[in-house]
């Protein structure tokens, strides 16, 4: 809060209340962006690397990227987790990555990697929100 108020006082473009909405959304859309726009460069870079590595390692292990579905509960939760990766998820769906491969044991790890990448990105987006509202420095 203090940082944003100082920024606003110095003629900054973004108020605290709008940053509280923009930061988590930006962080969800592109991992780390929510921290970058608040000038937390190193944290943003590390978060971005962590989510990118997990997501692309999952794709590399031929993990499955869940599409929207109303079937099995675990499939629905898998979709919710995957969507947490934001733009990475939509790129993967667009590029037709993540078809899965049930013949490889490692592919199942890949599926979990992709879901966890999304969940970690949601945690990072919430952290960006906490910074924006001043609960965290």
């Amino acid at each position: 809060m203090a940082n944003l108020q100082q920024t606003a006082a110095k003629g900054g473009e973004v108020s605290a209340s709008s940053m509280a909405i923009i930061a988590p959304f930006a962080g969800w859309l592109l991992p780390g962006l929510g921290h970058f726009i608040q000038r937390k460069w190193i944290r943003g870079l590390l978060l971005m690397l962590a989510v990118f590595i997990m997501f692309f390692a999952g794709i590399g292990m031929q993990g499955k990227v869940y599409g929207f579905n109303t079937g099995d509960l675990l499939d629905i939760l898998g979709f919710v987790g995957d969507v947490g990766s934001g733009m990475l998820y939509f790129i993967a769906r667009t590029m037709d990555w993540g078809g899965g491969n049930i013949q490889r044991a490692v592919a199942d790890y890949g599926t979990k990697y992709i879901v966890v990448a999304g969940l970690l990105n949601i945690i990072a987006a919430v952290d960006a929100h906490q910074i924006a509202i001043g609960k965290k420095s």
């Binding site: 690397l49 962590a50 997990m54 794709i59 292990m61 031929q62 790890y109 990697y113 965290k136």
Partner: protein, 60 residues
């Protein structure tokens, strides 16, 4: 782009990435972040090793 990882390597990569995010998001100062990240990493990897020995003991 496909690659084959061993179970342990996959667990270590998972632990490293998850610990990084946990460390950054759950603590306030850089020092605490690093300490908590290292703590989480040790617990992740230690848990894997303990679970592996437990499974070995059950099998034998």
């Amino acid at each position: 782009m496909t690659f084959e990882l061993s179970h342990f390597t996959a667990a270590v990569i998972f632990a490293a990435c998850a610990s990084t995010v946990f460390g950054i998001t759950q603590r306030n100062t850089p020092r605490d972040m690093m300490r908590y990240g290292a703590y989480c990493f040790a617990l992740f990897v230690g848990g894997v090793i303990v679970a592996a020995w437990v499974m070995w003991a059950i099998k034998h």
